[in-house]
């Protein structure tokens, strides 16, 4: 038992953080800089990070969930406006179905964003959303088609939306067109079992939790820096215990979430799918609650400035709202734990 990163993982973490810091937005105005956005997307692609969950040839992924989580954390820390978890999750799902991943594909989610969209007919009926799409162009969004207790993988074409803005200013959420054709994934060699879906959910919970941990670390660094600079009553506001205690609590929440988030990232490749998913539920429940509090603390420490569009802290808060919701927020995870651990059934009072 040794939960420290390996030297290779430390190196990856170092590289990912440096890249995210260099190419990520340094201010809100940078979010409109298409050239910079192109550079960060290219850097992530060139690093091979979108292929981490591709098939290594033996059915196993090229890299473990830990590596994917290290990158998700680094990108969250810098609110890097680049598509990462979306395509990585799509490739993971395709690998589990024994299919070659469609280039730049993402996964379509049901309207609560908690799980992959399930479609039974020849066209989409209920609203569904492609989350964390690449910035430009049409993409394929995977959907699940029930077949007995299992699922067949299919996909839907999603065009680039003209005004597809979501709460998160750094990642795209696109609505699937209503009545769009559900297209086959011709080369799939296996049906996705409920265990596959659990494993996919675990990876989603691990990556969204890691993103939230990164967001907390990033926004906390900014807030501590601001508290050291901003002066009122002739002194730094960070010298007031009222402010110190808010930031100290935020640091603890970040550390607790970081400890919890390591486990599902490792477990997704090493534990039974149901056990791994429980680890994911725990991490996400903790990280989603923690991140909400930490980002709200950041807005508070920044005071009036924190409530302006120009101040970057709302970019963290907004991204945290999407990462919390994606694969289910704290309330959803606690409900899931009530079902799996407490024997509660859906619809119980």
């Amino acid at each position: 038992m040794d939960t420290r990163y390996t030297p290779e993982q430390e190196e990856l973490r170092h590289t990912a953080r440096r890249l995210a810091r260099e190419l990520g937005p340094h201010g809100v105005a940078d979010l409109d800089d298409e050239k910079r956005k192109g550079r960060v997307a290219e850097a992530v692609r060139d690093a091979g990070w979108l292929e981490l969950r591709h098939d290594a040839g033996d059915g196993a992924p090229l890299a473990s969930g830990v590596e994917a989580a290290i990158i998700a954390d680094a990108l969250g820390e810098a609110v890097a406006d680049v598509s990462f978890a979306g395509p990585v999750l799509a490739a993971d799902l395709a690998r589990r179905a024994g299919a070659a991943p469609i280039d730049e594909a993402v996964v379509a989610f049901a309207s609560d964003l908690a799980g992959a969209a399930v479609v039974s007919g020849p066209t989409t009926e209920s609203p569904a959303y492609a989350v964390d799409c690449p910035a430009k162009g049409a993409v394929a969004a995977y959907v699940l088609v029930p077949e007995g207790d299992d699922y067949r993988l299919a996909h839907v074409r999603v065009e680039a939306a003209a005004d597809g803005s979501s709460a998160d200013l750094t990642r795209a959420v696109r609505a699937l067109p209503a009545g769009a054709s559900v297209l086959p994934v011709a080369d799939q060699t296996r049906l996705l079992t409920p265990a596959d879906v659990d494993a996919f959910a675990t990876l989603g919970l691990a990556l969204t939790s890691a993103d939230l941990v990164g967001l907390m670390r990033g926004v906390l660094d900014l807030s501590v820096g601001y508290a050291q600079e901003r002066r009122q009553y002739g002194v730094q506001i960070g010298s007031f215990q009222a402010v110190q205690h808010l930031l100290a609590e935020a640091r603890c929440l970040m550390e607790g979430a970081a400890s919890a988030a390591l486990y599902p990232a490792w477990a997704v490749d090493c534990l039974a799918p149901d056990e791994a998913r429980t680890a994911g539920c725990v991490a996400k429940a903790y990280a989603a609650r923690a991140a909400r509090t930490v980002c709200e603390t950041a807005v508070q420490v920044y005071g009036g400035m924190g409530n302006t569009w120009e101040c970057i802290v709302h970019v963290y808060l907004r991204r945290a709202l999407l990462s919390a919701q994606w694969f289910g927020d704290d309330g959803a995870q606690l409900q899931q734990l009530q079902r799996t651990r407490l024997g509660a059934t859906h619809g119980l009072s």
């Binding site: 038992m1 730094q236 400890s259 734990l337």
Partner: protein
Amino acid sequence: MDFRDSPAEADFRRRFRVWIAENNPGLPSSSTDDEYWARQAEWHTALYDAGFFGLSWPVRFGGHDLPSVFDVILDEELAAAGAPPRPSLGYLVQGITTHASEAVQQRFLPGLISGRERWCQGFSEPDAGSDLASLRTTATRDGDDYVIDGHKIWTSYSDVADWCFLLARTDPSVPKHKGLSAFAVPMKQPGIEQFPLRMINGITKEFGQVAFDGARVRASNMIGEPGDGWRIAMTIVSHEREPGEVGYVARYAKTVKDLEATVRADPAAFRSDQREAVAWAYVQAEMLRLHVRRRLSERLDGPDHGPGGSIDKLLMTWTEQSVGAAALGLAGSRAVIDADDVALKIYLYGRAQSVMGGTSQIQKNIIATRILGLPVA
């Protein structure tokens, strides 16, 4: 990164599981019942004699020289078996191994670790709580001895202790942090009077006050050098704040397991908010278990006496108080009708966690100034 047991760890886990199945003392939780405190020494020596205590401490003092992560396994298996947590005295061991001379270590560590000699910790005083350095108990040199005069409070297990790890002022002429020294003071002597304290949940065997009136201690029982007291105290309290050192994770996990079993027996008998509180307590207890795994894994790089224990302490406090809230919520009216209700006792006992070992406010001051680097007010 690997959360799995190594072959040696798996073997240890198996051996312990077999042993605890036969040797679970079946004690009530330490937070709810005097019986636990009455039989704690017995539990300590049983665990030690079977080779399952002091895992990461030096072999020459009765430990096993194992990596700290073995304590994670012990805590997990204790919780799984519904057994009491391991005795919490690692912070005293850390204080003595870090600061005491070889002679003092050889004299005191074997008895402390084996449980054959019982210890208490005399730091706080009625007028020196958070401001510990202002303490007024004095140790005055008299030949080969020091003479102790003063009053200590919150002295856990003082009534059964053979020794007190005492912090006293040896030099009143220097600034308050510099005039303190630490001693191993024999407790069974004239000049020491005990006043037990009853806690808010009714427990009487844990807490005490101790009056020292001309009690004597040999100068050779000093731990560290004269004036080292503050530094030694800070080593000790930094570890007293670590759940990995005190082993409370097992207590929380056991309580959560009991709460979950209660709900599972009849889920429809509870409101959704009651069940959600139990699920949240599980999340917190798991977070803390994983946090301890992370912190004890970091110790594989070597010990760290830094301020990180303050973060651990707040996470532990929030966990204990979430578990207490879940227990109280699940008990509902039962906890207010019956003063002996276990959930009521667990809940009330949990209030102390945000005070003992340094209040949550003091932990936040430490985190803000020493970890975040914010200016001292």
